[in-house]
Structures are given as C-alpha cells and as structure tokens.
C-alpha cells in the first residue's frame, strides 16, 4: 500500500473533532465564555435587588438592576442560538465527511466482502449509525466547555457567597460521578447489541425487497413475516433494556441533584435564623444552586451521547475495517498501457474451507486471440474469467496481462485495459447515454487529463449501438418520447414534414397496422376521453387526470347524454376487471391490458362492492367520479374485457363535434385539436409521425413499421436526432425498464465503446435471441479479432466455434484445450458437451 492518509475505518471518533474547523470551534469557545458570564449576572442582580434596592427603598436602583438582568437574559438567549447553530454546522459537516469517506472506502472493498454483506446493512451503517457520531462531533467542544465553565462559575459564586453551604451542596456530585459510569457500561452493552440487531434487520429488509418476486411467487408471506417479526421483537427487547439503562442514569442523576436543595434549606435556613446569613444571600444561593442543575444534566447527557456515539462509531468502522485487495491507482507512475497478451500459469484459487475452485490452470494467448471457456456449470469457467479480470484475488500461480502480474496491477490499470461484461450486468439508473459512457467516464476521470478525447462522439456511439443491435431499441425509445411543449420549433417542424412524407409513402401500405386520427371516425386505440375531445388540453382542469373531477365537464357530459352510458360502462369495466384480476397480486405485468392500475385495485374492489346492488342514480358522488374516470380511460383496442356499445360510439362521435364547437366558441385556447398540420404535444413522436396510433404489438408488424420508419428517417436525415433523444431515455432503477436482452446489449455496447485491449465476457449474451447473438458473434469474429484479446465464457457452444482456442474446464481444471474442430475430432470433453455422452 502507498503512503496515504489513515483509512477512514481506522480513524478515531476524536480525530473528527480535531479535523473540524478549529477556528469555528475557537470562536465557539469565546462565545461560550460570554454566555457563562451572562448566566451569572442575573443571580447577582437578584441578590442586589433584594439586598440593596428593596432594603434601601431605591426605585432607581431597582430599575437599573432589572435593566441589567434583562440585557443578560437576552444576550444569553441570543448566544445560545448562535452556539446551537454553530454546533449543528460542525456536527453536520463532520457527519457528511464521515459518510463520504466511509462510502468511498466501502466502494473499494473486495467483491468477496459484498458477497456476505447485505446491501441493507451498508445503507443502515451509512445513514443511521453515523448520525449520533455527527451530533457528538458538533457537541464535542461546545457542550463540555460551556457546562464545565458554567458549573465552575456557579460553584465559585456559591463559595463566594458561603463556603460552608457550597461545600455541602456540592458534596453530592462525586457520588453521581461514581455511579453513572457503572450504569453506562451496561447501557453500552445493550447499545452494541442494538447496533448488531439493527444491522441484521436492515439486511433482512433489503433481502426481501430484492427477492420480492420469489416471495410473492412462492407465496412465502407467512415465512418471511415470521422471520421479520422475530427480528423486530428482538430489537424491541434490546431497545427497551437500553432505554431503561439510559433513563436510569437520568433518573439517578435527578434524584441526587434534587437532594442538594434539601441540604441547603435545612442548613441555610438555620444559618439565616441565627443571623449568620443574609436573607438575600440565601435566595441567591438557592437560585444559584438550582442553576447548577441544568449544566450538570447537560454534561451527563453529553456523556451519554459520547458513549452511544463511540459504540455505534466503533462498531460501524470495525465492520468495514478491511483493506481493498488492490490499490486504486498507481501513485508513482502513469497507468499502464498493456499489450493484450495473456499468460496464465499454474493458477489456483482456493476459498474458505479449502475448496479449490481453480486448480493448476495454465494457458496463454497472444494479443488479439480469442479464447472460449466452456464446461458444465460449477466447472470454474466464470471464476477463471473473474480471476483474469481481477475481480477475485487468486491464491496461487500467476496471471500475466501484457507481461504484468494481475495481482500487482492497480484497479486503474485494469480499468484502462480490460473490459468486463457479466451475465447480469449492472445498469445504473439514469439515461442510456450515461450508462453507455460509464466505462469511458470512469477511465478518463482522475487521470488528470479529463476530456482528453476519450469521450466518444455521437458517431462512435451510433456505430456501437448498431454493432450490438441495440440501435433499434434506442430508436424506439426516441420515437416513443413525448416532447415537452417548449421543445425547439425546428424539431417539431421536421417531424411534421416527416409526417407528410410518411402519409405519402407508407400511408397505404401500413394502414392495417396504424389507426390514423380521423375526425369522423371512432378511434379504437385511443381512450374515450381522447375520442371525445380529439385534442390536447392546455388547461389543467381539462387534463385527463383531472377532467372527471371538473364540474363543468361533468355538466357537458350530461348535456351530451353521455353521463349515464359512461357510468354504466365504468361499472362494467370495474366489475369485469375485478372479476378477472381481483385475486392476482398487483403486478404491473397483469395490468397492461387493464383500465384499472395495479395500485387502484383495492379502491375499485370497494367501489364494485358498494355499487353492486345500487341503482345508477344512487351511486355516491365519489364513486361516480371514479367510475367515470375508468370509463374515460377505456380504450377498446387494448381493454378487451368489455366491448364498446355501438350506441356509445355514436354518442361520443356526436359529443366530439359538440365539444369542439363549444370550446371554439367559449375558450379556443383551452384545447389544441388534432389536425394533420399541427404537432400534438400529448402524443409520442411516433404517433405524431403516424398521425395515429399503432394497432398491433405483434413483433412482425413492429419490424415492418420499424423498417419503414428507419427508411424515412434516413431520407429525412432525422435518424440521428431521434437516436439522440432515445439516448436520453431513463432506464429506471437498475435498468428495470429494459428487457434482459437490452441490458446485456447495453453492457456489451458499453464495453465496446471503451475498446479495451482485453475483453472478458462472462456469458454476456445469454439473454439475447438468436439473431442478436449471431450479430454479436460476427462482430467479435470480424471486427475485433486481432484487435482485442477476448476471453468469453460460453454456455452455448455455437457462439465460440470460430474462436482460436477453446478451453474445456472440468472441476476447476482444464480438461482439454485447442481449436473447436480439433477437440470435436478427439471426441473428448467438448464432444460430450456438444452431443451428450457417446
């Protein structure tokens, strides 16, 4: 390891106090000193009011003393505010630093660590467990200094008033100081257990959330609930005991500090009676003594926060106290530019329990050669690929990339020279473009040479998209984009031009796949509301989500004689849908052809139950709105559970004409009606080109339409623009809006864009259909052969037939290695894999 600063996990809690802004801390102490002074002043004034002003009947003195009292109190309050603010600032800043550093550290930890660590645990550590440490750092100087100084000031004042009384009333504190730590030790034990239990619990939550398909698929609700409930109960018990101890400390403290006025009363009272103490002094003494209580309580609380913080902090840092297996970046040289040769000799990889996943593997590849790794599952083919990619640290033998030992390379060297695509590649939430550029960004960043031409151009991106076959997907994302109203006019104009050409060139040919917007016909692939308004609303109250609630609109429906027919349509839709889908889990998949959304299922179930026996006229206003909403969404071409009654069809067509008339007469700005010459901002680009909607989701129809559209877009020189828009498509969290095949294609494109010297693909095409798989296989064989060294783990043998060499692994060893034909002719392991046992 280099000579770097201490890793975050080895820093002590106090180092954060020192690392915080010491100037601010110093200023804080200064303010505190003033505050302490401001706290003592009122006491003195109190005494003087009684002893001087009242006794001497001097009103002027009374006013002066009260004035000083007031100023002191205000100063105190004001400064307390400043102190709190600065404390919060210091604390929050320290917390932010802790989080950042720990996060940065966690990202570098070896893969093996994450295999046994639940993501939830990492979240809990970063989010919850560090908060107390943050508050502690904020308090670390201000609180003890303020309170100890206040204590000393009051104690001094007490001694000044009466040494004997002071000694007696302070005698209680040493006892408290002895008892509190004893209880705190027990509280700390519980706190440690609490941290651990919270960790297990967060791990369990994260596991359930990520495995939710299995839980719902297997109906394992009771099982999971049991496990979870058990953990929650355990945590609850620990927290109860912990709280008990913490509260116990406060209680004990209260008890003893409350005892001390008793001592003062009894002794001070006696002294006053016998005339050895002024009455004013006794009052001041009692007040001062009462004031001791608050700083003391604060100190005890501070002590508790300190203890809790050090427990959580220690426990958290200890858990992550591992060193990264490889240095991140070379400290004394530039990252290597390696040659693509690979030399593996006597490689072995042994995991805990002495299990040898890889055993005595030797092979070598020249730059640009292609190696296929095959074998039955569990043979170690993926492990070997991962060792070469530095994802695992092998335990014996050597792997040399371009003549350098992989174990000694830094992560940066690997990132700059090796591309890795795993079977289920991770796609980050963000746009397609961000995901594509991920590899390039990561390797150019921190090089000191940011933007040194390593960021690929749009042409490069498009080339890679085409090579991997994800181009058409990106194009479709682009075409399915709904443009924002303020999008630049030129784009809109171009789309309108494309529309005209589309209608001229393909209007006839594609008429059976597309339902064109036609003012005089009912549109079966548009919703009832679209059919009725035949336009895009420019007023919120007329937008689809709100329109059923809009009294004006409801009145219109009444006038168009649509109210009752729509209501009964709504009822039938709700009844049928609930009847079909009512017992299914609310998964998106089942609701694609349903007007009811998954999260509305319960609501409509209740609506159906309520309205079942009711006369139409007696349905409540809220249910009416809901049913109307459903009816307005109804799109006969998609929602097949109910047929559109012919009466309704003609009523809606009549309504369309009347609606248009009314809007044009009363508020022509409120709607933009569909017109062949105008852009429709509520529709996708594709629907705008069509001036209609696609009828079929059938793949063959899709392909035919794609061909025509691509053709047209190329002619119009518009393809790149659409692809650029498509690149901005948000892929969802972990890319869940993409199919498995799209994710794999994206990951391969991401690697190719980086054009690394060595490419490792771990069953990287397993989710692709044949065509896409063949395309990528051809690409690798023609375009990349000789340029980049390729190591591909393959499940299907036909994808690696033309590779230079194939290594067949069996139980962690290389069973045989050579070109495909040679191995097949030998009728050994590969033959067995391909054709089964002889």
């Amino acid at each position: 390891m280099g000579t770097k600063k201490t890793p975050v996990v080895q820093k002590s809690l106090f180092s954060w106090v020192l690392a915080s802004n010491l100037k601010i801390q110093g200023f804080l102490v200064f303010i505190i000193l003033i505050t302490v002074f401001a706290r003592v002043v009122p006491l003195e004034m109190q005494k003087r009011v009684v002893n001087e002003a009242i006794n001497l009947r001097r009103v002027d003195l009374l006013l002066i003393y009260c004035g000083i009292y007031l100023v002191a109190v205000i100063t105190q309050g004001l400064f307390k505010l400043i102190i709190n603010y600065m404390q919060a600032r210091i604390g929050q800043r320290a917390l932010a630093e802790m989080r950042k550093e720990l996060y940065h550290h966690i990202l570098t930890l070896p893969l093996g660590f994450f295999r046994k660590t639940q993501p939830g645990l990492v979240v809990a550590s970063l989010i919850t467990e560090l908060t107390t440490s943050g508050s502690f750092v904020g308090m670390a100087i201000a609180v003890p200094v303020t309170n100890i100084l206040t204590l000393l000031a009051f104690a001094g004042y007490l001694f000044w008033l009466n040494p004997l009384l002071a000694l007696i009333s302070l005698s209680i504190y040493p006892l408290v100081l002895f008892l509190v730590p004893m209880l705190q030790r027990r509280a700390n034990e519980q706190n440690k257990r609490r941290v651990d239990a919270t960790r297990v619990l967060s791990g369990r939550i994260a596991e359930s959330a990520s495995g939710i398909h299995e839980i719902q698929g297997n109906g394992a609700f009771a099982l999971e609930n049991n496990k979870f409930d058990h953990l929650v109960d355990k945590l609850m018990n620990i927290r109860v005991v912990w709280t008990l101890y913490s509260e116990g400390i406060k209680l004990l403290n209260n008890f003893f500090t409350n005892l001390s006025p008793l001592l003062v009363f009894s002794l001070g009272g006696y002294l006053a009676m016998t005339g050895r103490l002024e009455l004013g002094a006794l009052v001041a003494f009692l007040s001062a003594q009462e004031k001791l209580y608050q700083p003391w309580k604060d100190l005890i609380e501070f002590y508790q926060v300190y203890q809790d913080a050090s427990v959580s902090y220690g426990r958290t840092m200890e858990y992550f106290n591992l060193e990264p297996e490889h240095e991140l970046a070379p400290s004394d040289r530039k990252p290597y530019d390696l040659e693509g040769s690979l030399e593996v000799s006597n490689l072995s990889f042994t995991v805990e329990g002495g299990i040898r996943l890889l055993n005595d593997i030797s092979l070598s590849l020249k730059p640009g050669e292609q190696l296929g790794l095959v074998g039955f599952s569990g043979s170690g083919k993926s492990t070997l690929a991962q060792c070469i990619g530095q994802l695992y640290k092998y335990t014996g033998g050597q792997i040399q990339l371009g003549g350098k030992e992989v174990a000694d390379l830094t992560k940066k060297d690997i990132i700059n020279n090796v591309g890795f695509v795993s079977q289920s590649p991770f796609i980050f939430s963000g746009t397609i473009e961000e995901n594509l550029l991920y590899g390039c960004m990561a390797s150019s960043e921190g090089n000191g040479a940011k933007g040194d031409g390593t960021i690929p151009s749009l042409d490069d991106i498009i080339a890679v998209l085409q090579q991997t076959g994800i181009f058409i997907d990106v194009l479709r994302f682009g075409l399915n984009t709904i443009l924002a109203q303020d999008r630049d006019q030129k784009l809109v104009e171009t789309i309108l031009r494309v529309r005209t050409n589309f209608q001229r060139r393909f209007g006839q040919e594609l008429a059976e796949y597309v339902e064109f917007f036609d003012e005089n016909r009912y549109l079966f692939f548009s919703s009832v509301i679209e059919n009725l308004t035949f336009g895009t609303s420019n007023r919120q109250a007329y937008e689809t989500e709100f329109i059923a609630d809009n009294p004006e609109f409801v009145l219109l429906l009444e006038r168009f004689q649509l109210s009752l027919p729509l209501l009964s349509l709504g009822i039938r839709l709700a009844e049928q849908t609930i009847d079909i889908l009512g017992d299914l889990p609310p998964e998106e998949f089942f609701f694609e052809q349903s007007p009811i959304l998954p999260d509305e299922l319960d609501t409509y179930r209740q609506v159906v139950a309520r309205t079942k026996k009711e006369n139409l006229n007696r349905i409540g206003p809220k249910d009416r709105t809901r049913l109307l909403q459903l009816a307005l969404r109804f799109t006969p071409g998609i929602h097949k559970m109910v047929a559109l009654p012919e009466v309704l069809e003609s009523l809606i067509l009549n309504g369309r004409a009347m609606f248009r008339e009314k809007i044009l007469a009363e508020d022509p700005e409120a709607f933009t009606f569909y017109e062949n010459s105008g852009y429709i901002f509520s529709q996708t680009i594709l629907n705008n080109i069509f001036f209609g909607k696609m009828k079929s989701t059938n793949p063959r129809a899709q392909e035919k339409i794609n061909q025509s559209i691509v053709h047209l877009l190329i002619e119009e020189d518009f393809l790149e623009t659409i692809v650029e828009i498509g690149l901005q498509y948000q892929v969802g969290s972990k890319g869940d809006k993409l199919s498995g095949g799209q994710r794999q294609k994206l990951a391969i494109a991401r690697m190719l864009l980086k054009a690394p010297r060595v490419m490792i693909m771990d069953e990287a095409t397993s989710a692709l259909d044949n065509k896409s798989q063949t395309r990528i296989q051809n690409l690798l064989e023609t375009h990349w052969k000789g340029k980049s060294t390729l190591i591909a783990v393959a499940h299907r043998l036909d994808t690696i037939k033309n590779f230079d060499r194939i290594a067949v692994l069996k139980a962690g060893k290389i069973g045989e290695i050579g070109p495909y034909d040679e191995l097949i002719a030998r009728k050994g392991l590969l033959y067995e894999l391909e054709f089964g046992k002889k």
Binding site: Q576, D579, D583, G637, M641, V642, A643, E646, T697
Partner: protein, 175 residues
C-alpha cells in the same frame, strides 16, 4: 398480421368473453377452474393474417401457441433444397402446447392459405399466469403427456406398411 380492432359487431359480448368460450373448448385449458381460465382468456390476443403471411417460420424461437378461429394454414418443412407440405390446419385447431411449456425452436413453418384469424397466447404471459396458479402445473403436463401418447398411438395404428424407416425412430412417448 394484425390484431383485431376492438370493435365488436354484435355489441353483446366482448372479445374477452369470446376468448373465454374458445379456451373452454381447447383440451389444454378446458379442465381448469374458471378463475384461472378467466386470466388466460384475458391475456390472450387476436392476430389476423392475409393469405401468404408466414405465421411462424422454421428455426424461429417463436414462443406462442395459437388457436385458429377462422381460416386455413399450411404446415411445411424445409430441407436443404425442398419444401414438403406436412398438413393443413383449419378452424378449431390448436397448435403449440409445447412452446408454452419450454423454449424450443420451430421445426416447421406455418403459412396462412386464406384470411386467418387466430387467438394467441405467448409463453411469457402463460408462464406469468401459471406462477399464480402453481397447482395447475401437473394438469398441463398431464394434458401434454396424453397428447403425445395419443399422437404416437395414432401413428402406430395408421402407419402404412412401406414405411419401415419410420418405425426405427418410433417411441416419442418413451422420451
């Protein structure tokens, strides 16, 4: 090929209800409890083809099962240089029980010889729905097994004497 418009001529029953009636005639679905059949009927879609349209092609990894509602289609097999017509399918035929249960590539091609309307369910939809009714899995397997068994029984019975080679590969029901 093109899915039907949502228009319903009679105005009486919806496409879903028609699907439901059709499924209840197909052996693969007829024995199911109504609540499951409803979900399958809901997930089905319609496709229509013109004469000459290829419904599926040899070598495709097609994942649909189809029921021919109307029209006729020709099943054929392509060898290196010749195409053999195997048989014709018509109204009421159901094709593709196996495709619903596992990923296989088409060994034959199906081409529409007239206007064809069929009811289609994809493996993805079938599997997702089946996950919600796990008790039904044995029923589907049972129907499939009996289909294969009946197929071979018929094959053994109707084979003509001159097809000695056929007998060498008989025994599909023994797989």
């Amino acid at each position: 090929m093109n899915s039907n418009s949502g228009k319903n001529e009679s105005g009486a029953s919806s496409e879903y209800q028609e699907n439901l009636n059709i499924l209840r005639q197909i052996d693969f679905f007829s024995g199911l409890p109504l609540e499951a059949t409803k979900v399958f009927a809901y997930l089905c879609s319609r496709e229509s083809c013109k004469p000459g349209d290829v419904i599926f092609e040899q070598g495709d990894e097609d994942d649909r099962a189809l029921f021919i509602i109307s029209g006729q289609a020709r099943l054929s097999q392509q060898t290196d240089n010749a195409e053999t017509t195997i048989r014709h399918y018509r109204e009421g035929d159901f094709i593709g029980r196996m495709t619903l249960l596992g990923q296989i590539r088409r060994l034959f091609s199906l081409t529409a010889t007239s206007e064809v309307v069929c009811l289609v369910i994809t493996r993805e939809k079938f599997t997702k729905a089946l996950e919600k009714f796990p008790d039904l899995v044995p029923k589907f397997i049972d129907v499939l097994v009996h289909n294969i068994y009946r197929w071979e029984k018929r094959f053994l019975k109707t084979r003509t004497g001159d097809c000695k080679d056929c007998m060498k590969i008989a025994g599909v029901s023994l797989v």
